[in-house]
Symmetry: C2
Subunit: 342 residues, 2 copies
């Protein structure tokens, strides 16, 4: 069976996926019977195309990186925008990998809704739709017997959602705490090592972790959206990012960090979710945590999630210093899951 893939968004994660998949193509076919053809790609600045004979994903990645328009690839049909692509492509699986909109999760949510309505399975690394429309999208997918996977939305390809759903059956999640944003953790780690906030932020940008405008990370929005995604999926919360009591790291000083270190602690931007009488309480705040703990020993881009459960107590997952390939792998693991389910 060949699976036809459509990409909405073709940024660094999708392009890393393109190369990862190409390198492992023969193994994946051997091991999982996974054979794919890309039939559509939609981008914001490099054109939108479909193709029935298939688009070479690695060639498309190189083309975008050269700044060329995808319409220059032979044997393709040019379309005006992502929605036209979703409505006109011949595909089995939609990859929604556009950038996050933390205000309302659009247009990604509409992309996913449109794809599900057309009978496409959906994989996304965009946490907006999970934070703003999870219960609705889940119901639509279930109704149409379609797969809807999003492992890459929190902690890249490290198992978080799949971990609870497939490896902890019968377990109830009571709460969680985690370090979920790499930019702020790099900045705090850098400041602990004697650099200034600005120097540490510049380093995060240099390594491709922080965007040109990193306010979204620094003010805790990225972590808040991830906390909401975790609460919605693992705790049936139906929360929204605005519900998170949120404080970023702008006011954390080198003196605060030094003081924490002297008392055996580290200041980390910790996202927390906790069941309460009114549902689930969500917070994102810089707080001192013991250096000698899973949260305290996470430095640099390392992410950690501690899940509190009824039957299994606390289980932590640590993703050590991830890069772009770890997010690309999330797309691959979701794709393999769909293949296994079919």
């Amino acid at each position: 069976m060949e699976l036809k893939l459509a990409f909405i968004g073709f940024g660094s994660v999708a392009r890393a996926f393109a190369r990862m998949f190409a390198e492992r193509q023969s193994n994946l076919e051997l091991e999982y019977g996974l054979r794919c053809r890309t039939t559509a790609i939609a981008t914001a600045n490099h054109g939108c195309i479909t193709s029935t004979i298939g688009i070479d994903l690695v060639e498309a990645a190189s083309s975008v990186e050269r700044g060329a328009n995808l319409s220059l690839i032979p044997n393709t049909v040019v379309l005006s925008d992502p929605i036209s692509v979703i409505n006109n492509c011949d595909a089995d699986i939609l990859f929604e990998v556009t950038p996050l909109n933390a205000i309302d999760g659009e247009p990604a949510t509409t992309h996913i809704r449109t794809a599900l309505a057309r009978g496409l399975h959906v994989v996304t690394a965009n946490k907006g739709p999970i934070a703003f429309a999870y219960s609705d999208l889940k119901a639509v997918a279930a109704e149409a017997d379609l797969s809807f996977h999003f492992e890459g939305t929190v902690m890249d390809g490290a198992p978080v959602f799949n971990l609870v759903q497939t490896c902890l059956p019968g377990v109830r999640v009571l709460g969680f705490s985690g370090i979920l944003n790499s930019t702020t953790n790099l900045i705090l780690s850098g400041m602990e090592s004697g650099h200034s906030f600005e120097e540490s932020l510049a380093e995060a940008r240099r390594r491709g972790i922080a965007e040109a405008n990193a306010d979204h990370d620094i003010d805790g929005w990225d972590a808040a959206v991830k906390a909401v995604a975790l609460a919605n999926v693992l705790m049936d919360a139906d929360a929204r990012p605005i519900d998170v009591v949120r404080q970023g790291i702008r006011n954390v000083t080198v003196e605060d960090l030094d003081g924490a270190t002297r008392s055996g602690k580290a200041i980390r931007l910790v996202a927390r979710g906790k069941r309460s009488s009114g549902g689930v309480t969500l917070t994102v705040t810089p707080e001192p945590v013991p250096l000698n703990s899973p949260l305290g020993c996470a430095r640099g881009t390392t992410n950690v999630l501690i899940i509190e459960t009824d039957l299994m107590g606390e289980i932590a997952v640590v993703e050590d210093e991830p890069g772009i390939d770890q997010t690309a792998y999330a797309l691959l693991s979701d794709l393999i899951r769909i293949r296994q389910h079919l």
Copy 2:
């Protein structure tokens, strides 16, 4: 569908499972369609019984804890030994939960072989068969289209085998390092806090973590058997416990631990597996690790496993201060997996 269960071994883990299952029975039926009847129990010192109408597991647990013989339970047939029970019971799933034999994995391996030959699915928390006969048992189960699960053999119910097999598809495990034995970790943590080796061992016994004879833990055999289980399942190693380069914690002194602490480290009994030209190299040795790391911050009974992979870099799973219920949960999660598969 009702599943009929047989227990070979009915120690503290099986009895904790009995109570956990009874408490959640209605939820498990609602959520997973899981309905069970116990039709056989075999013990070393409290008799071996079968029953077609079903044995009340909680009553059986209380009976064993009172020191009574299971044959006193009404409507049961008394048999002479575990093999007779396996050969004569009317069951769908065998729970092999006898104690570990670190010399050759028997008689647990024979129990499992006999059960598979009779067409029973198998769940075990006994790591002996995984360390001594995994590839063979796996092949027999696959041939007969039977489930064979053993999540509880390493790190209790914390996802280790299921994590890699179901949540990290397409990923190749390159190696691992972990703190897998609670008794030695409790002793080392106790000695760090100023207690002697003997005091710390007594505390481990008092908490029910260490057996009366703890040599098996202290000399690193328990960790070695777990390392072999990990290597055999996750790295296709076909290793045996004797292949592990093994050193226990008998010669670790309070001075060693103090010295390590002064240089920001902790001494931990670390199990390691690494791919090498000759297959997989396995070691269990006390070694200094940074306090400020997932291995170094594991204190008390806490277990940690760091998995090194090709596509996902390093991922760690931390199980915080587990007790007997976490092992009991491993049996439950394996049981639910079988139900989901049927």
